[in-house]
């Protein structure tokens, strides 16, 4: 594709050199700022770590309340080498995956249904909004009763947690459209499906992606809470058991592990988001 004209006019020859020097200094300044910011963030992290080390090794906080960084590191080696570790991680991973995927798909599906079909909206919308208000966590014990101690109950809780943000964001995204764009599609005699595919869906993508990110953290939350309430396997189950045995360093390790995992996937979703809705940065 050679079909791209320059958007900006090139500088005049007389000033060309001066402008090149100016651009170079601007580039240097931006780079310097970037590194300063990175160092500041890294420095703060090290500061907190040091505070943690001093407070625990110095004996200011009892090690049963907060373990030392070294004890946590030792627990990391011990727990991750144990036989029970990977099977439990695998269980939690599967629960999170299914909870996230099913909850997200169901939320998007009902969001589209309610946004696109007036009778569906009239029928379901009041109930879906009313159901959205109470905290979904209260369902956890019931779901364990219904679906048992295995993965199904955790997936169910996770699905319910994911559903509402995805549903509401899909609905909002599909509704937040320029009225003139709708008029344009109507004037072109576009069908409902064409309007949906060419206008409404891509237009909703940014708000839907925000919903996906919300879903992700809630899917993890739902699974772990479910495992606290009643489970025979999983990271949440391990945290609960280790806590009961007062193996606080192991608990700390598992919490950190879970946080890092959630964060990494979150970053991947954000990267994907930038790919999908590339036009927001133009």
């Amino acid at each position: 594709m050679t079909d791209t004209a320059p958007i900006h006019a090139p500088p005049s020859d007389r000033q060309g050199d001066a402008i090149a020097r100016f651009m170079e200094s601007e580039r240097r300044r931006t780079r310097r700022e970037l590194w300063t910011n990175r160092l500041l963030a890294l420095g703060f992290g090290l500061f907190v770590l040091a505070l943690w080390a001093i407070a625990t090794h110095g004996g200011f906080v009892h090690k049963l309340i907060i373990p030392t960084p070294l004890a946590t590191l030792e627990a990391a080696g011990r727990v991750s080498a144990a036989d029970y570790f990977w099977p439990n991680v695998w269980v939690t991973l599967q629960e999170i995956f299914w909870g996230f995927v099913i909850g997200m798909a169901a939320g998007a599906f009902f969001g589209i249904l309610v946004a696109m079909f007036a009778p569906v909206r009239a029928t379901l919308y009041p109930y879906l909004v009313a159901l959205q208000a109470p905290p979904k966590i209260v369902l956890a014990p019931i779901f364990v009763t219904w679906f048992g101690f295995d993965m199904e109950s955790k997936i169910a809780i996770s699905v319910v947690m994911c559903f509402f943000p995805m549903f509401l964001n899909t609905l909002t995204g599909l509704s937040a459209v320029d009225p003139n764009a709708i008029k344009l599609m109507r004037s072109l005699t576009a069908s409902r499906w064409q309007t949906f595919r060419h206008l409404l869906l891509p237009n909703a993508a940014p708000i839907m992606m925000a919903g996906v990110k919300l879903c992700w953290t809630l899917a993890v939350l739902g699974v772990i809470v479910g495992e606290f309430v009643g489970a025979s396997a999983g990271i949440g189950y391990l945290i609960y058991a280790m806590n009961f045995q007062l193996d606080i360093p192991a608990v700390f390790f598992l919490i950190i592990l879970l946080s890092v995992f959630t964060l990494i996937v979150y970053q991947v979703i954000e990267w994907l988001e930038g790919r999908v809705i590339f036009w927001n940065s133009l």
């Binding site: 594709m1 791209t4 004209a5 958007i7 003139n180 008029k183 004037s187 005699t189 590339f278 133009l282």
Partner: protein, 254 residues
């Protein structure tokens, strides 16, 4: 040229509001010939945009008859193209893909549309920008893309609702000159809504002067300025007379 392509008789639009009926358009009758450039001019609330919406089949009229090509207007039709005050480009489509939207919606021949898109981009002075995204273009350039898209499926009638109203004065004038140039070449029927009297006189064959509360067609002014027109025409006495005549009809000068 003498055949009326669009006819309206006794067209009214009434909205039911909490405080009673609101008459947006009151008993409007007119005929528009094929290939004519018509402007609807008047202040806010005179019903000019409402009339255009009804002509485009986007809104229902309350009373009267309104026909294009002898067929009652009761829905949008593919041979009527519409353009709005905002360019409404889709930011996720390149310029080229935006111009190809009507062809995709109407499932027109892909090879022909491809060639036509390049022709149109050339015509609006944007060849070389086909692979850009709307977010990278200036307001004037975006409205040029809107103009190219308007013509993409070769509609017989063009309905333009203050298409250059959001542009600055200089860009607007450039766009008007461009529009005239393109219209001279294609001779499509154009209905152009504006509140700028000078713009209406410069562009049109006839100006429909509309007054508000209730929206009425006050009168129709024949613009007997020669064509093709250049901005030079604005220095002529006849141009000034016509502008003044319309101003008087609108009650601007007392």
């Amino acid at each position: 040229m003498t055949q009326d392509i669009i006819t309206g008789s006794g067209v009214s639009k009434v909205y039911a509001t909490a405080t009673g009926p609101l008459v947006a358009l009151d008993d409007v009758s007119f005929g528009i010939r094929e290939g004519e450039f018509i402007s609807l001019v008047g202040p806010s609330g005179c019903g000019k945009s409402t009339l255009l919406s009804i002509l485009g089949g986007l809104e229902d009229k309350s009373l009267g008859r309104l026909e294009i090509d002898g067929r009652e207007i009761d829905r949008p039709r593919a041979d009527v193209g519409m353009m709005f005050q905002t360019p409404v480009l889709f930011p996720w489509r390149t310029i080229r893909e935006n111009v190809r939207l009507p062809g995709e919606i109407l499932r027109l021949n892909k090879t022909e549309q491809k060639a036509r898109t390049e022709e149109l981009l050339e015509m609006v002075g944007l060849s070389g920008f086909g692979d850009r995204y709307p977010g990278e273009l200036s307001g004037g350039m975006r409205q040029r893309v809107g103009l190219a898209r308007l013509l993409a499926h070769d509609p017989k009638v063009l309905m333009m609702d203050e298409p250059f109203g959001a542009l600055d004065e200089f860009t607007r004038e450039t766009m008007n000159i461009e529009l005239l140039r393109i219209w001279e070449a294609m001779r499509k029927t154009v209905i152009f809504v504006t509140h700028n009297i000078g713009e209406a006189v410069f562009l049109s064959d006839r100006v429909f002067v509309m007054t508000p509360r209730p929206g009425r067609l006050e009168g129709i002014v024949e613009i007997d300025l020669p064509r093709p027109r250049t901005p030079e025409i604005m220095r002529e006495a006849r141009y000034g007379e016509l502008v003044f005549q319309i101003r008087r009809m609108l009650g601007v000068d007392h």
